[in-house]
């Protein structure tokens, strides 16, 4: 199909249409430039383009001592949380498909509860509840990881459940018919196929997890955002430049992980090894394709 879906909305412009489009392009470009200039003026008025504010980003020791430790803390919180959340998701996702009601219902309640409440109140609860109830000192790192695991683990559980349920019934029936036990059927037949189908959804959820580590800023975890919004401005009084540079770092990392998700999706669509259709993440903000 040479035409993209969007270009169906309008005719290929003729000579008059092309002239009108050119005129509109110029008009909108001018409007955007004016808008950008107004923003620039506002920034310049407050001296935000002074070299002194941007110059720290050219110094190696600023990166080594202030920014990279923050990035390291962000990545280590994300990695720790992901390593716990993925098994959590598999355990609870399979538990929700259990034949035993006493496993299925509690697992469902846990998953639905932690998906419905905001991550931040879980982090606050971990911080204050840990010391009030168990007498433990909860570091901001563990509080952030706890919140990330409970929330993202619950979302991953939904992905796992969707992945396994999307397999044709015949797969389980055939596995049981050749004499496999339920555990074996899950382990040897269902899970390997389901994992292929849900890999892209899992990776997209890990991008969400990585973004959510920035909540650590609110509980004074020394992450990348903390470096940009507290440490650098305290040293160089350059809040806006620092936050912009941190945003660029976050975007680069997330786009990188996002590319992995796209690649996995293409790969799983190509392979015919799985009988499952690719799984959309739960609470997906895109409408399912109908055609």
């Amino acid at each position: 199909m040479s035409q993209t879906r969007a270009s169906v909305l309008y005719d290929a412009p003729g000579p008059r249409g092309r002239r009108r489009n050119l005129l509109l392009t110029v008009l909108f470009a001018v409007a955007l430039i004016v808008l950008a200039y107004l923003g620039y003026r506002k920034f310049a008025e407050k001296g935000q383009f002074d070299a002194a504010l941007w110059e720290p980003f050219l110094q190696a020791d600023v990166w080594i001592n202030l920014i990279l430790p923050g990035l390291w803390n962000t990545l280590s919180a994300a990695a720790t949380a992901a390593l716990i959340a993925v098994p959590f998701g598999f355990v609870f996702g399979m538990a929700r498909l259990s034949e035993h009601r006493w496993i299925r219902i509690p697992a469902g309640a846990v998953v639905e509860f932690f998906r419905a409440i905001p991550l931040l109140i879980m982090i606050f609860f971990a911080q204050y509840g840990g010391s009030a109830v168990f007498g433990l000192t909860v570091t901001s790192f563990s509080a952030v990881v706890f919140g990330l695991v409970m929330y993202n683990g619950s979302v991953l559980a939904e992905i796992v459940r969707a992945g396994i349920s999307s397999l044709p019934r015949g797969q389980t029936e055939a596995a049981l018919a050749v004499g496999l036990r339920k555990g074996q059927a899950m382990r040897l037949i269902l899970l390997p196929q389901a994992v292929t189908a849900m890999m892209p959804a899992i990776v997209s959820q890990l991008v969400v997890l990585l973004k959510d580590t920035a909540l650590g800023f609110i509980v004074a975890y020394e992450d990348l955002l903390n470096a940009g919004a507290r440490i650098l401005p305290a040293n160089f009084r350059n809040l806006i430049p620092a936050v912009i540079v941190m945003a660029v770092i976050y975007i680069l990392i997330n786009v990188g992980v996002g590319l992995v998700a796209t690649w996995l999706e293409k790969r799983s669509r190509r392979s015919r090894k799985s009988t499952a259709a690719p799984v959309a993440p739960p609470d997906s903000v895109t409408a399912p394709a109908t055609l």
């Binding site: 909305l9 935000q48 940009g228 936050v243």
Partner: protein, 222 residues
């Protein structure tokens, strides 16, 4: 439990602020998101690219960073001011941050809805001689909106939960209030947490049910 009853007015006030934050942001994000979606499918390359870059940048930035930028960057450094009162000013700045962020997701939802409208619909509209704007306004968007009611419901639920991040710039909505109640009543951390969790369940679950029902009721029959 007694702490929860004693502080009930404070808790209700905090949730009322959460609701107001949500409503104000939802309206702003819906408008901005629709405009962005229209830009992303427009015949003009400039608009398509600007909207595409905006959506990709905002979707890959943590919301906490966006809100900190709006609160501290716009508020403190650039002196953007909406009100004499500091707390009201931060409230507005957090609404701006939440709206800018949520609009990117609204745009993605609506764009995916535009893709569910069969090609024949837009082709028939073109054959009748409708222009791009007429095509969007009368044919495509009405069908697209009905296809994305459920995804927009998910965006709204995510928004209700995301309003807690306004705590990063000191807006005393539910989560920040919960934190200060934890400090005031250290013996009652668990009941207070359960109370606030219940509050969020009361806000999010009906929204999910309502949008699920609406999506079924208004689904385009094909």
């Amino acid at each position: 439990m007694s702490a929860l009853i004693e502080e009930l007015p404070v808790i209700l006030g905090a949730f009322w602020l959460t609701v107001r934050l949500t409503l104000a942001t939802a309206v702003a994000a819906l408008v901005l998101g629709t405009v962005l979606a229209a830009m992303r499918v427009s015949p003009l390359g400039v608009l398509r690219n600007v909207a595409g870059a905006y959506v990709n940048a905002l979707r890959n930035t943590p919301l906490t960073l966006v809100i900190v930028f709006c609160g501290l960057g716009l508020g403190l450094v650039l002196d953007v001011s909406f009100s004499e009162s500091l707390s009201v000013n931060y409230l507005w700045l957090s609404i701006i941050g939440l709206s800018l962020y949520t609009a990117a997701f609204v745009c993605e939802a609506i764009r995916s809805g535009i893709n569910t409208v069969p090609i024949g619909q837009a082709e028939a509209a073109r054959a009748l001689g409708l222009t791009f704007t007429q095509n969007l306004r009368h044919i495509v968007l009405p069908q697209a909106f009905r296809a994305v009611i459920a995804p927009l419901g998910s965006v709204l639920i995510a928004l209700i939960k995301n309003t807690t991040i306004a705590a990063a710039i000191g807006v005393a909505e539910a989560s920040l209030t919960m934190k200060s109640l934890f400090e005031r009543h250290q013996e009652a951390v668990v009941p207070i947490f359960l109370g606030f969790a219940l509050g969020f369940l009361v806000l999010t679950l009906p929204v999910g049910l309502l949008f699920g029902w609406l999506a079924k009721r208004l689904a385009v029959a094909r």
